[in-house]
Symmetry: C2
Subunit: 233 residues, 2 copies
Amino acid sequence: MSVIFDAELKKLKSRFMEMGIDAGEQLYQATKAFLDHDNTLAKAVLSRDHTLNDEEISLEKRALKLMALQQPLANDFREIISILKASNDLERIGDYTTHIARATVNLNEAHHVASVENEVTQLAILVRQMLEKIMDAYANLDEKGAYEVANMDLQVDVIYVRQQKAVLKAMQAKPSQIPAYESYLGMIRTLERTGDHIVNLAEWIIYIASGKLVELNPGKADPKLVQEKLKQQ
Amino acid sequence: MSVIFDAELKKLKSRFMEMGIDAGEQLYQATKAFLDHDNTLAKAVLSRDHTLNDEEISLEKRALKLMALQQPLANDFREIISILKASNDLERIGDYTTHIARATVNLNEAHHVASVENEVTQLAILVRQMLEKIMDAYANLDEKGAYEVANMDLQVDVIYVRQQKAVLKAMQAKPSQIPAYESYLGMIRTLERTGDHIVNLAEWIIYIASGKLVELNPGKADPKLVQEKLKQQ
C-alpha cells in the first residue's frame, strides 16, 4: 500500500511541476506575442486555452484519490493539500495568458505605442522570472527562495502603479490611441495579478516546508509600501 | 475535542454559505449596474473587490486548521476539502463581477445598443438563478438539485454562442460602435465562465453528498451538444 502511495505521490508532484512549466511557457509565448505583435503566436496560445484547465482537474482527481488510498503523514498531507490549491493559481495564470493573447489579436497593428511597450516588456520579464524561480523553489522545497520571490512582487506592484499612471496620462493626451492604451492597461493589470498568484504559490511552498500559513503579498498587505517605494525612485 | 471540531466545522460551513451569498449579491449588482448604465453602483461593486478574496483566504485557513485539529471522518473530510476548493470558484465569480463593473465604468454612455442589452439581460438572469440554486443545493446537500443546475449550463453555452455570433455580425455592420460591442462580448464571455464555475460548485456538492468525482460541464465535455441545441432553436 505504502509503495503505491509513495509512487502516486511522486507522480502527483511531477505532474504539478509539469503544470508549472506549461504555465511558464504559456506566459512566455503570450507576452512575446503581445510585444512582437505576433497574431499567429497569440492564436497558438489561445488554442491551448484548456490545457492548464485540464491539468488542474487531473491533479485534483489524483490528489483526492491519493488521500482516499491511505491516511497521509503530516508532511505528505500538506504537500497534497498545497498541490490541490496551488494548481488553481497555475490555472489562473494560464487564464491570464489567454487574456493577453486575446488583447494581442484584438489590438489594431496601427496603434502600437513603442515607448509604452518597452515599459510593459520590463514588467513581463520580471513576472516571468518570478514564475521560473518559484517553480525552482517548489522543486527544492526552498523556503528562503519562496520568500525572495514573494518580495519581488513589491517591485511588480511599484512598476504597475507607475505604468498605470503613465498610460492614463498618455490616454488623455492622445484620445485617438485609447484602444491601444486600454489594452496596455489590461496587459499590466494581468501581469500584476499574475504576480499575486505567484505570491500565493510562494505561500503554499512555505506551508509545505514549514507547516506555517503565511500572508506574503507585501503590496496588498500594506499599500503604503508601494507608495513609499514609488517616491524613492 | 470532538465538540470543538463539530463547532468549527459548522462555522466553516456557514462562512462558506455567507461567501456564496456575497458572490450572488456582487453578481446581481454588477449585472444590474451594467444593464442600468449605473456607474455609481459599478464603482460600489469595484470597491468591494477584495471581499471575496479575503473570504477565500479566511476559509482556507479555517479549513486547514480544522484538519490539523483532528483526523476528520470521511464525510467531514470531503466537505472540508470541497469548501477548500469551491471557495476558489466563488472567489473567481467575484473576480468576474469586477470585470463586469470595470466594463460598465469604461463604457461610454453614448454607445449603448438596446437590442443587444436585452439579450444580455436574459443571460445574466439565467446565470444569477443558477448561482442561487446551487447555494440552495449546497445548504440541503441536494445531489439532484446540483445535477439540475449543471444541466442549466448547456442553455448558458447555447445563448452565449448565439449572442456572440450576433454581436460579431453587428460589429461588422457598425464599426463605429465597436467599443460598446466589445464590452458586450466581454460581458457574455464573463457570464458564460461564471456558469462554468457554478458547474464546478455542483461537482463539489455531488462529491460531498456521494463521494463521486464527476465531470459535469456538458458544453465543454461535448461541444457538439451546443451546436445541436442551437439548430433546434
